[in-house]
């Protein structure tokens, strides 16, 4: 079992907390007191120490485990380059902002802009993996440059908007305009989805790279992949044809 440091929320959050100021990329190498000294920004109150918000045990460790309802905690995993962050519950906005490597697993729902570009920027995460066991808010993986984002539930509007490369896999329903303005990259849909009008149907086939992705997710990330999905047929839509047109939406045929 991977050694881990556990950060348990001391009391329910009452307002949004911006944790993008936390040095998530170095957190795995820090002692509990050093993690506790990291600063976050509490809406309406100002700066707060992580140690004031969380009870911290077990550091340093290659895995950071966050426990509690963190739907109001934004910017978890900002700048992560290696190591693992596991969120035992919901997570807030801008999960994995500026991430280039490592793994973030959310065992609940995640708010808008997970893995997405920062406001005003073109590029989302440039590497690593985000696994969401619940559902994701709007603009999931917008501007995604590289990396893999998996959502076992639904994804709201604008998933993969203007993505540049990488893969987004959604097991539930996908909201309006997935992959709009994308240049490259793959959106894999196991649930209901309507491709944007700037995408065109290409063919029905078994994408070989998807077999590798799904086999990897099943073996290494515990994602429930059924044999039907592994060996099934997918409708390929190419787009966004208003952009480079080298992207794709792969819609599983149940």
């Amino acid at each position: 079992m991977t050694p881990e440091a556990t950060l348990t929320l001391r009391a329910p959050l009452r307002q949004r907390v911006d944790a993008s100021t936390v040095a998530w990329a170095t957190l795995t190498g820090l002692m509990a007191t050093e993690i506790g000294a990291q600063k976050a920004w509490v809406e309406g109150e100002g700066s707060a120490r992580l140690g004031d918000l969380f009870d911290i045990r077990g550091a340093p460790a290659p895995r950071i485990r966050l426990v509690g309802d963190l739907a109001l905690l934004d910017g978890i995993g900002t700048g992560l380059a290696a190591g693992e962050i596991v969120v035992e519950g919901d997570a807030g906005w801008h999960l994995g902002r500026g991430m280039s490597g490592g793994l973030i697993e959310v065992r609940g729902n995640v708010g808008p802009h997970a893995g997405a570009a920062e406001p005003g920027a073109k590029r989302g995460i440039t590497g690593g993996e985000i696994i969401v066991r619940g559902s994701a808010g709007r603009q999931l993986g917008a501007g995604l440059r590289r990396g893999l984002i998996v959502v076992e539930g639904d994804a709201d509007a604008g998933a993969g908007r203007a993505m540049l490369a990488g893969s987004i896999v959604v097991f539930g329903r996908i909201g309006p305009d997935p992959g709009l303005w994308s240049k490259r990259g793959s959106i894999v849909a196991f649930g209901a989805l309507t491709p944007p009008t700037s995408y065109r149907y290409a063919c029905t086939y078994r994408p070989p790279h998807l077999s590798v992705t799904l086999t990897y997710l099943k073996a290494r990330r515990g994602v429930p992949i059924t044999p039907e999905r592994l060996t099934g047929l997918y409708r390929r839509y190419s787009g966004d044809l208003a952009e480079l047109g080298a992207g794709e939406i792969l819609a599983w045929i149940p």
Binding site: G127, R146, L148, S167, R184, S186, C203, Y205, R206, P207, P208, H209, S211, V212, T213, L214, T215, Y216, K218, R220, L230, A246
Partner: protein, 302 residues
């Protein structure tokens, strides 16, 4: 030393250091993975004339492959790293890329040394190709008429061993062949080894150089040819009328030793007079597999 009455000669097999890659070919069914593997490993018996040595290592189950499909593991060996890269590009490009339903993966992902393969083959995609990074490994997607061909960007390589061998000295050609078949069957599926010759068996063992042709790399091993018994310095006992060789290439000394041990043990049957081995006096190859030591290990193990 004797194994079931068959003399094990006090000699050794002399083998060489080579560079080896493991290629995993998967397909929609084991049949098509095997079709690609057979083509890929065709005309790859000896570096002397084929520029590489290759063979099927074993079949893989769905649980053992990167894409959850049945597959075949192939080992390909050359004398240098540059040769290995070129042979992989040529052979995967002509035999795996062309074969229906196949994908092609690196079977030595932990190896430190790597050669580019998919990144060269991607050019067949004529600008329509794309790549995916999955679990830290980059794959190229090359559009083809059937759909897509998926090939890993880089393949690992490591030092391997070529030319492990043993000779079956038999009273008749039929007995030699039966013993060779038994030996091949015993080695089949041993991890880390291949038998690069037809059916795993060689009838034309060679010596270095030639008596007559200057510059010739290899010529017939006259000392082990029964028809030449009275016109050359023979290595054959009176009762031997046919000799066959099993050549074993592998990823490491332990794998080759294990294969030789299993093969010799199985080959010691009716009509076999002795087991010998091919060497060059120990001056050319750094790996020496002493038959009696190998079989003593078997005796100790059993």
């Amino acid at each position: 030393m004797r194994v079931r009455g068959v003399a094990i000669e006090d000699t050794f097999a002399e083998a060489f250091t080579m560079r080896v890659a493991r290629v995993i070919i998967t397909a929609g069914s084991l049949r098509w993975a095997r079709e690609a593997a057979l083509k890929m490993t065709g005309f790859a018996t000896s570096v002397i004339g084929c520029k590489c040595e290759a063979g099927i290592e074993r079949a893989l189950t769905e649980a053992e492959t990167p894409d959850g499909r049945p597959g075949i593991s192939v080992l390909l060996l050359t004398l240098s790293k540059d040769d290995l890269s070129q042979r992989l590009i040529e052979r995967i490009g002509q035999t795996v890329l062309t074969c229906p339903t196949t994908s092609c993966f690196d079977g030595l992902p932990e190896a430190a040394e790597r050669v580019r393969v998919g990144s060269a083959l991607r050019l067949f995609g004529d600008g329509f190709q794309g790549s995916k990074v999955i679990g830290g490994r980059r794959f190229w997607r090359i559009p083809v008429m059937e759909g897509e061909f998926l090939v890993e960007e880089k393949f690992g390589l490591q030092k391997g061993i070529g030319g492990g061998n043993f000779l079956i000295l038999a009273s008749t050609a039929d007995a030699a062949l039966a013993a060779a078949e038994a030996g091949v069957n015993a080695i089949a599926g041993v991890p880390g080894v291949i038998l690069p010759f037809p059916g795993g068996v060689v009838r034309s063992g060679s010596k270095v150089g030639s008596r007559r042709v200057k510059g010739m790399i290899a010529s017939t091993n006259d000392a082990f040819c029964p028809t030449l018994r009275v016109v050359t310095t023979t290595a054959l006992p009176e009762t031997v009328n046919s000799v066959l060789e099993i050549v074993v290439d592998g990823t490491d000394v332990d794998a080759v030793s294990r294969a030789l041990r299993l093969g010799i043990e199985a080959a010691c049957g009716d009509g076999v007079v002795a087991i010998s081995a091919g060497n060059f006096g120990g001056k050319l190859g750094p790996h020496h597999f002493y038959l009696r030591r190998i079989m003593s290990a078997e005796a100790m193990a059993s």
